[in-house]
């Protein structure tokens, strides 16, 4: 009987506690599958994880070739995560009012530790606009917009517009001269919206007798600015759109986008 003791598995205290831990209900409820060391377990892990399941179960070799994808979609997503993180941090200091907006931005650079945070948000935003365009260019040049991926191309186009709108709304928030006049010029385009802008084609047709239904104080530009010029209302509306509305919309579409990549057969292969 003494021999059997020496033959028994050598379980140190560490190993025993590891075995105990992996047998607990908590551990098993979090990690539903064994280590992904077999093909079957790898698939199960991907399929049963809410984050991973958006991703294709398997990727063809060309899918990770930098020369083929440029990793522009992945970089766009990475930049989005960076911008979300730094953006939330900036919100702890920034107040979107005429009185504080500009000085808070200056304070983020001068008074707050790691003043680089705001610069990361700014440069990250510029970079994301670039990577999103390049991603679109890559998808176009590799013909990856063709069926069955045409639906995902359209989702991507909408997200491109949302990215540009995020860039546009964030532009106003520093509330300096550049911001105010850039948004003045940009939002003046909304005046020319067909039917809904008061200087747009067809707007004069929308009238009840002598009363114009579309005028400077109720047209598309007004809805954007919350006023007839770039002022307090515009700053607040752009802030809410920039921090809540547009990010929510683009996050939902990103989930759809990634999911469609998977359902349409993973990243497209070289032609």
């Amino acid at each position: 009987m003494a021999d059997t003791k020496t033959v028994a598995p050598k379980e140190g205290a560490l190993e025993r506690s590891w075995n105990w831990l992996t047998e607990t209900q908590i551990w098993k409820s979090v990690f539903r599958h064994n280590a992904p060391i077999t093909d079957r377990n790898r698939v199960l892990v991907v399929l049963s994880n809410v984050f991973l399941h958006l991703h294709p179960v398997r990727i063809r070799k060309s899918g990770v070739r930098l020369r083929y994808t440029w990793c522009m979609g992945g970089l766009s997503f990475f930049l989005f995560l960076t911008l979300t993180f730094t953006g939330v941090l900036l919100m702890f200091y920034y107040r979107p009012t005429l009185e504080y907006a500009y000085t808070d931005i200056v304070g983020l650079r001068e008074h707050v530790p790691l003043g680089i945070m705001r610069e990361m948000h700014r440069w990250g935003a510029h970079a994301m606009v670039i990577t999103v365009w390049l991603h679109m260019f890559r998808v176009f040049m590799t013909g990856s917009y063709k069926p069955p991926r045409e639906f995902n191309w359209n989702v991507g186009v909408i997200m491109l517009v949302l990215t540009l709108l995020l860039s546009f709304t964030g532009y106003l928030l520093p509330w300096d001269q550049l911001a105010i006049w850039a948004i003045t010029v940009g939002s003046n385009m909304a005046r020319a919206t067909p039917f809904l802008g008061y200087e747009g084609p067809g707007a004069s047709l929308l009238a009840l007798g002598d009363v114009q239904l579309i005028h400077a104080a109720d047209d598309a530009r007004f809805a954007l600015l919350g006023g007839t010029f770039v002022g307090e209302g515009a700053l607040l509306r752009f802030y809410v759109l920039h921090c809540v509305g547009l990010p929510l919309a683009i996050a939902v579409l990103m989930a759809v986008h990634f999911w469609r990549v998977r359902k349409d057969g993973g990243i497209s292969g070289p032609l």
């Binding site: 006049w181 003045t184 010029v185 003046n188 104080a217 109720d218 007004f222 809805a223 919350g226 006023g227 007839t228 010029f229 002022g231 307090e232």
Partner: protein, 220 residues
């Protein structure tokens, strides 16, 4: 299993009655699921439901249609209300119409005192280019190119827009840069108390010949 028998005439029992005469080939176990004739006697509860369906008001299908209709209408109303929410009833913006004091408070030339508050330059001229008389006009400070606010450069005797370089004479006529047309003038009249009254709600455009309008220029 419940909605076939005794459906009122108003309800259109389109697909189900075709299946009502149970085909003989249906096994007994399935018969209860496809024909209510077999189910009804077995389950009194189901029969009660059937009686509810014969409510004189509306068929079940009618009720569901009404529910979906109401839901759609409520959603549309909610959407409209959300849209309307974005247009406040009161705006904290400077008034469009305002009094700017008496004519003898102004020296000849471009006056900038109301630029920030009301968005107009008051110009007193010995002889206007259109009206050919002495008096006042009110120029709106909005550049006709893309809507920035030009600066008055007295040394160079011109308005100069910092955004894209448009230049305007003191009359408001554009002469350099991308601006496609002259600055606009606002309605300017004498109020009953003798003060000058400016009304930005009414604008006069040179290229439409509106600067000849008597209310676009205050003769003094």
């Amino acid at each position: 299993m419940a909605d076939e028998p005794n459906v009122p005439a108003s309800g259109t029992p389109a697909p189900k009655p075709a299946a009502k005469p149970a085909p003989p080939s249906v096994p007994p176990g399935l018969a209860g699921k496809t024909t209510s004739a077999a189910a009804a006697p077995r389950r009194p509860a189901a029969k009660k439901k059937v009686e509810d369906d014969t409510s004189p008001l509306l068929s079940r299908r009618g009720w569901i249609g009404l529910a979906w209709g109401s839901f759609t209408a409520a959603s549309a109303a909610g959407l409209a209300a959300t849209g309307r929410f974005m247009f406040p009833n009161v705006l904290n913006e400077p008034p469009q119409q305002f009094r700017i004091g008496f004519p003898d408070e102004y020296a000849p030339g471009v006056d900038e005192r109301w630029k920030d508050r009301f968005g107009v330059w008051i110009v007193r001229t010995p002889s206007d280019m259109v009206q050919e008389a002495a008096g006042f006009y009110a120029l709106l400070v909005t550049c006709t190119h893309l809507g920035c606010t030009p600066n008055w450069l007295s040394a160079e005797d011109k308005f100069k827009c910092p955004c894209h370089g448009s230049g305007f004479r003191p009359t408001g006529i554009n002469f350099e840069g991308p601006a496609p047309r002259p600055l606009e003038r606002a309605r300017i009249v004498l109020a009953e108390d003798g003060q000058i009254l400016v009304d930005k709600a009414q604008k006069f455009q040179f290229e439409l010949g509106q600067w000849a309008d008597p209310e676009s220029f205050l003769r003094v």
